[in-house]
Symmetry: C2
Subunit: 251 residues, 2 copies
């Protein structure tokens, strides 16, 4: 899967990440998380490391290429690259969980994010989904690219653990899921038994949500997080995280 320097540079752009089928994860922390995830997810073992001289003796089971500091600076997104960057195959992330067990031992649930825009929000959501385990993350067309360096960084390695699918059209959900839940201002409380019984959880764009008409077409069941009424909305990642917490809450 080795790429030449010109190709590696191009991975800053979404178009080429998807054309080459891989993305970069910068820094030692992410490289360590990648190795850890690869223990349980063999497809991740085709990942490769590009390192500067400083890291040439870094112990790894992955294939390692030594490059110059200048080359590292050219392929990295950060101002001060850490001297180690992993090249990760996207296909490896579409398969099952990197962790063999989940927090609750329950069936896998899908989190569908419709046109999510903020890389920090997506990274935080992935971190929470990996924390609990047993979640799959589906992204609609027009969402931020999960292989964007900002998302990868904010995920703190969670991106290697959560199965991810991109460009999943909203209309296909009803064919693949039996009970779709959505979050709304009005609806049953998250603590209702019906919430746990859904198999797909749908969340809208940060500013616009999901159009009501489309929710109705999908037969999505509305749930709400009751509040004091002081402010109009919660942060999107906050809402997803509270839902993930509720689904993993042990009574």
């Amino acid at each position: 899967m080795s790429l030449n320097l010109d190709e590696l540079k191009k991975l800053q752009q979404k178009k080429y990440r998807h054309e080459f089928g891989c993305f970069l994860a910068e820094g030692e922390h992410l490289a360590l998380e990648l190795e850890k995830a690869a223990l349980h997810k063999p497809t991740l073992r085709t990942s490769e490391l590009y390192v500067t001289e400083e890291f040439q003796h870094w112990a790894t089971t992955l294939r390692k290429h030594v490059i110059t500091d200048k080359q590292m600076a050219q392929i990295c997104d950060t101002q001060t690259p850490q001297g180690i960057v992993a090249l990760v195959p996207i296909a490896a992330l579409q398969l099952g969980q990197a962790t063999p067990h989940s927090a609750t031992g329950e069936k896998e649930r899908a989190i569908y994010l419709h046109e999510i825009q903020d890389p920090g929000n997506l990274g935080t959501i992935l971190r929470t989904l990996a924390w609990f385990g047993n979640f799959r993350c589906l992204l609609s067309p027009g969402s931020v690219d999960p292989f964007n360096p900002k998302v990868v960084r904010a995920s703190m390695g969670a991106i290697f653990h959560v199965p991810l699918e991109v460009e999943v059209p909203l209309e296909t959900l009803s064919a693949n899921f039996k009970r779709i839940a959505c979050l709304d201002m009005q609806g049953s409380s998250l603590s209702a038994k019906a919430f746990k019984e859904c198999d797909c959880y749908l969340f809208g764009n940060e500013a616009r949500g999901v159009p009501h008409e489309q929710l109705q077409k999908l037969g999505a069941q509305p749930f709400a997080i009751p509040g004091s009424g002081a402010i109009e909305s919660l942060n999107l990642a906050t809402v997803v995280n509270m839902c993930a917490y509720e689904l993993n809450r042990r009574p």
Copy 2:
């Protein structure tokens, strides 16, 4: 409370915000949220608006000063100022809630953040605390300044609703609270009855947490969010938000 232009410019710096006892909230959305909060919190009514000509007829009960576009650009933190900025007295935010009722009708609880650094995290936390109501936010010395423009923006107006106290030393907590909870890797689950019975909830710095020795001195009771073990930690704001959710969860 009017300040001259030089003084307004200085409010970009924490030192002057605390010296003058006020901070700026930029943009129409925050101005509207401020007006809404002032309905229930009369001390906020001494806030003033600085507006460009475009906004000179903006309907408000607050005192309004018209300034030039150039002056607006000088006092604002954002690249493209929106033409309206509110000057808000800090003292008004240390008092009770701007909202007359809470989600659950329960007693007020304190959220203590120890050396929190990230403005986005603090803004998100305030948004959640305002959403539920009945929370007070205490910040340790060395925390990010809550009147920092980035926090104010990320709070989406929640900063006007949640009573805030800054520079609260960790050591003073045991004198003021009966039962202090902290989040840890080991501990009872958040869903345990004992969690709801605490009156102060303590959260550590994003990277370092709170030193164990200090937690022991305070007699803080540890609680945990059980996970799959795939990743090492959750985002700080995520943890606080899940706790706030649990405290307001209706069984």
